[in-house]
Each structure stands twice: as C-alpha cells, then as structure tokens.
Symmetry: C2
Subunit: 118 residues, 2 copies
DNA sequence: CAGGATCCCATAGGATACTG
DNA sequence: CAGTATCCTATGGGATCCTG
C-alpha cells in the first residue's frame, strides 16, 4: 500500500499503461470469457454455459474481438461434424496476475458490501 | 502461469468475484481516477488535468459513483473560498494490486502491439 | 473553481429468429 | 452445434452552457 512514496510525475507513467490495458479489456464480458478459457480449451457452447448471462451475439462478437487483439485463438477441427474450440494465446496468459488480483479484490469487495449493508 | 492445475469446478468460483469486481470498476474512467488519487489528495480540477480527456460531466458523475461505492471520499474544507478535495478510502487502497497488475500488463501489451505492427 | 443541467450521439448489450 | 442477422434499449460518454 506504499503509494505515497511515488513522486507526482509518475502519475502519468502509471496512467498511460493502465488506460492501454483498459482499452483492450474493457466491457462486461472480455475478462470473464478469458477466465473461462483459463480453465482449458472450450467450445462456443461451453463458454456460453460458464459465463452466465452472455448472449450468443455478445459471445460471438467478443470472441472475434479478442481474436483480433491476439488474446484468443480459434481452432477449427476438420472433423465431421466440424468442431470449433477456443483457447488462450501465450499473450493472454500473461493476464493471469490481472485476473488473480481482480478475483481477490472482488471477494474482498463483496465481503465489505455485505457487512456495510448490516 | 500455473492455471492448468485448477479444477473445472473452480471456474465459477473465479468468475463470480471477477465479475463482482468488474461491476464496480468497469468503464473508461473509474480506475484512471483512482490511479490519479493514488498519488495523493487532489482537487476536482487537478484530477481533470491528470486524467487526460475526461470531461467535467464524466468526472463529476464518476466521482459521485465512486463515493457511493465507498472508493472515494469527498472532503469539503470550510474555508473561503470553499475548497473541495478527493481522497482514496481505505477500501480503494486495496485496489493497489489490481492497478499494478494492469499497469504491468498494459506496458507488456503495448510492447507486443508495437512489435506486431512491424 | 467545482460541478449541475441539458442535449445529443455512439456503442454496449439484450431478445429473438434464423442458417450451415 | 456454432454462430449470423435484425431490431431494440440502455448507458456511456461528449459538447456546451450555466451557477453558487
């Protein structure tokens, strides 16, 4: 929590990369989709089942977006019937820390909200 | 990066807190505002200057939102002219890890994008 | 200076239906 | 099963102007 030892000029140097990251990760679904894929190769319908509430349209759109950003790989198996899966790329696996810190904070925040409501 | 040792049932247990966190932090401006306040108590105009591109309306709106969520404290100094500052709360200081991981990933991602474009 | 009020637009996101 | 197409609404976010 030692944030006060940072000099003011550093503010911009922190803000820029944070905003870079948010530009790519922002939205309701991108990180949840990546989380789901963290647990292994998955098909369209499997992701949809894990990420509760997402519609086909959004999943399709976000997967395409993530693929364009090099965060997700689409794998087409030439079998019959054709099979499609999605996996993380090496690059999106570097998101591990981001997801872990969000998970931890989300748990903390929920606890706080519950105790505040009392 | 040892994500593969996680069992499938854990997927939901990771997804829920991540989505809880995103519900509160989502949007273009909330985290950048918090980052700016990480560097100390700041007035409205000072935040606006640090967080490039934000409009008064959005800053006002987001500060209110963050205050409601217990992430930012509004301090009214009873001087003349009246002075208002914003500071982080103890709770938002627990976001330090989230911000740090986003900062690191943002830097990594930018490097990757640059080298990909070549 | 700190923001609220208003107006407007673009995009995120949802519902439903449909196809290879 | 794995999406696409359409249509719709809600919200995020910008521009501008106004006030204590």
């Amino acid at each position: 929590m030692e944030s006060t030892n940072l000099i003011p000029e550093e503010c911009g140097r922190t803000l820029r990369p944070v905003r870079d990251a948010l530009d790519v990760l922002n939205g309701k679904w991108k990180l949840p989709i990546i989380v789901a894929l963290t647990f292994g190769e998955k098909r369209f319908g499997e992701i949809a089942k894990e990420v509760h509430g997402i519609t086909d349209r959004m999943l399709s759109k976000e997967l395409r977006d993530l693929e364009l950003n090099g965060l997700v790989k689409r794998n087409l198996y030439d079998t019959y019937p054709a099979k499609v899966t999605y996996t993380l790329t090496a690059h999106s696996q570097t998101l591990y820390e981001v997801i872990e810190s969000l998970r931890k904070w989300g748990e903390l925040h929920r606890k706080k909200m519950v105790s505040d409501d009392k």
